[in-house]
Amino acid sequence: MMLSRVAERMYWFGRYIERAENTARLLNVNTNLMLDLPKVKFIWNSLIDITGSQQAFAARFQVEDERNVVKFLLDDPSGSIKHSIEMARENVRTTREIMPNETWEKVNELYMYVPENIASGLRRTGRHQFLKDVMRSCQEITGYLAGSMSANEAYNFIKIGRNLERADMTTRIIDVGVLNLTIDENSEIKEYENILWNNVLRSSTAYQMYRQHVKDRVNGEDVCDFMINDPAFPRSVTHCLKEVQSCFETLPNPDHPLRTLAHTQRMIAGSDVISLLNEGGLHQYIDEIQEDLADIHEQLVQNWFRHDSAVLPAAADAG
């Protein structure tokens, strides 16, 4: 049975690696988008919104332009790719005995790679390669884990972290898409609507799978529905929660977290995303999902990491 402290570090490791990868993808996709839409200005500030770093950003920068936003997301001490990787590494460094060696070596390599190459990530010419390297390394780490780590408790906690982080990121990406496109019916943005929804899909690597699954042209209704409700796409909220559920079920005493999770799953299953979008209620709905994700996080922390009162009966048994 694994230590609560170690389990917590595994969980955060999963979250931070996922966060690093997602941030890299967001930056990459949006740098590409800039090339198509050089006149549109809102793109960079929306990245700050998606990552929820408005405060931290405002403390360092005044203008939300490409240079500042990219700099912030690459090497800010609290909200950047560099930070996520440092935190991921710190979490493995303190639990090295749990992980396959290759994973640690890969994390360590990435940790050294980022500061050495961050300068080229700041320039548009080198950015694509830099971000691609980061994404690929994160994928490799996930791959090593899948290929060489037993599906034990530690692995399940990593997976829970990864999937909660993913679900959270997906909701943020949709939210920003929705906000940008519903601010003003008549704004110039409308003419780019199709490109922007494409962008939402690409930010979650969902473009290809969406095209295979949804026959119609890319449109807001189907994109939102796909990214929240598709049961099979690995970054859809529904799929992520299903993964979390299956991990919870393998862990000891999962009742409380499972109940909280089921509540969210029922809420999502019973909602009609398309009419919410058309009636303007989607933003609020996504807020609710995000609050629920925070509840699930809180519940699992209490249940498995800080369960000092809950362990007393088990102590009596063991004695």
Binding site: S4, R5, R93, T94, R96, E97, E105, N108, L251, P252
Partner: protein
């Protein structure tokens, strides 16, 4: 490359004789060094350093109030010892640790060695590592020090001496194992040509030793490594050993002692019993109930659990009583007293300042001696005669006179040298050697140990925090002639 290797008559070189020829059985290595180009050797050195970086082999130094994680310094040219010589050293180390364990058990129980006047009673009364709380306890097999790291040095005439026995929380074994991994990758051809004794069975041996002191030896014991945490300079090693043994790496806050006096760890499924703890924190931090009250590293009630036999602790609390520079000077007498044998490995000749005649000699010859405080480790508080000045010498004299029990003095031993890759040349550098000895109902000695090397020319300081590096150590079985 052409070797222009200058070893002097004042030191013993581990690879070359005075005449510049390879020592018997070691010509493969010297031929290799002669044949290889400097470029190739430097490439191999870089490959080794790259491995150290990616594998994250680090040690922590404290500097200006900060912890800095540094990469482990390693030199690719190995230190070599023939198996025949090493087997004798192994016997000597086991003999020594057996006697030391007899001594520790004796001083906490019958104190026969004192009653028989082999060792003065005053020695224990003034020992800072004697733990009153351990009196009357006999751990499993009467063994207190399960893991020992002894430092060996070789004098100019080739004699191997024991410089000290580290019985508290000796470290370095993980670096020994990692050094071997690295040299296997960067010098594969030599491993083909030589018969080099493998050393990677250490974690298994350690696990077996720890398992053997479980209160429930019949069950599959739950073993945990207790670390002070990530900021400790040896954290890398704690994590490494836990991983290699498949044991839990725990911090004090992960453990709790129950009303039944058993030790439990806090797991995701509730509390789970721990049978053996390999503790890597000092005695005084082990249990705030008994020792330092403000210690946040330890576990409340751990001493209670141990003294009632509910958990095995390695090394046992109080084992450090024999890790004292003055007690060290009595080890040859202990071997004779407890085992009735002659010591196989000699001590470095040592003067006890508590003895009047010896003290006089020390005070008169301070410039040519090394003076060590009884209870420091890592070279702290050491006085090295030839390097000191009038002021420090006068200060040392004053200290010895004020507290003679706290000091021993030794002649300066010119540590042996090993060829080392230094900026574009192979030069002799001074080394020591720390093998690791395990003991419970059985004994085990590593095949070789951690060779530490002073990378600065002429320096005798091998500590990694002070410019020291490390080498792989090869115990070589000679081929049949």
């Amino acid at each position: 490359m052409k070797l222009n290797y200058k070893n002097t008559a004042k030191t013993f070189d581990e690879l070359f004789t005075q005449a510049g020829r390879a020592r018997p059985g070691l010509s493969e290595l010297s031929n290799f060094l002669k044949k290889e180009s400097l470029v190739s050797l430097n490439q191999r050195q870089s490959a080794a350093e790259m491995m150290i970086r990616t594998m994250g082999i680090t040690f922590t130094v404290y500097s200006q109030g900060e912890n800095i994680d540094r990469e482990w310094p390693f030199d690719i040219i190995p230190r070599t010892i023939l198996k025949k010589e090493w087997e004798r050293v192994q016997e000597g180390l086991v003999q020594r640790l057996t006697a030391l364990n007899c001594f520790i058990n004796d001083v906490y129980n019958d104190r026969k060695i004192i009653k028989d006047k082999v060792v003065p009673a005053a020695l224990l009364d003034s020992s800072t590592n004697f733990r009153e709380e351990c009196v009357g306890i006999t751990p499993q097999f009467g063994v207190w020090a399960h893991i020992c790291g002894s430092d060996l040095i070789r004098d100019a005439d080739g004699t191997m001496y024991v410089l000290e026995d580290n019985l508290r929380v000796p470290s370095g074994v993980s670096y020994m194992l990692e050094n071997r991994n690295i040299s296997k990758r960067v010098l594969p051809e030599l491993f083909e040509r030589y018969n080099i004794q493998p050393m990677d069975n250490y974690p298994t041996q350690l696990f077996d030793t720890l398992s053997s002191i479980s209160p429930y030896p019949a069950d599959f014991p739950e073993v945990a490594v207790l670390t002070p945490g990530i900021f400790n300079s040896a954290y890398f090693e704690h994590s490494f050993l836990a991983q290699r043994m498949g044991a839990e790496l725990v911090e004090g806050s992960d453990l709790v002692v129950g009303d039944d006096d058993c030790v439990y760890m806090k797991t995701v499924g509730g509390l789970s019993r721990v049978d053996v703890i390999y503790r890597r924190i000092d005695d005084l931090f082990l249990d705030p109930e008994v020792f330092l009250k403000e210690s946040a590293l330890g576990v409340k009630g751990l001493m209670r659990a141990w003294s009632k036999g509910k958990v095995g602790l390695a090394n046992a609390p109080g084992a450090g009583v024999a890790d004292d520079k003055v007690v060290y000077t009595y080890v040859p007498e202990m071997i004779k007293y407890y085992l009735g044998e002659d010591p196989i490995l000699p001590n470095v000749p040592s003067y006890k300042c508590e003895d009047k005649t010896q003290r006089q000699h020390v005070l008169q010859n301070l410039e040519n001696l090394v003076v060590k405080p009884a209870n420091e480790s890592g070279g702290y508080g050491m006085y090295i005669g030839p390097r000191e000045n009038k002021r420090t010498t006068a200060e040392m004299k004053r200290r010895i006179k004020a507290n003679p029990r706290n000091y021993i003095a030794q002649p300066i031993i010119n540590l042996s040298t090993v060829p080392t890759l230094c900026d574009n040349a192979i030069e002799p550098r001074h080394v020591d050697l720390r093998p690791f000895i395990l003991q419970s109902d059985r004994s085990f000695v590593t095949a070789g140990g951690l060779t530490r090397v002073a990378l600065v020319k002429g320096s005798l300081v091998v500590n990694s925090s002070q410019g020291g590096g490390s080498k792989d150590t090869w115990i070589i079985e000679e081929k049949n002639p």
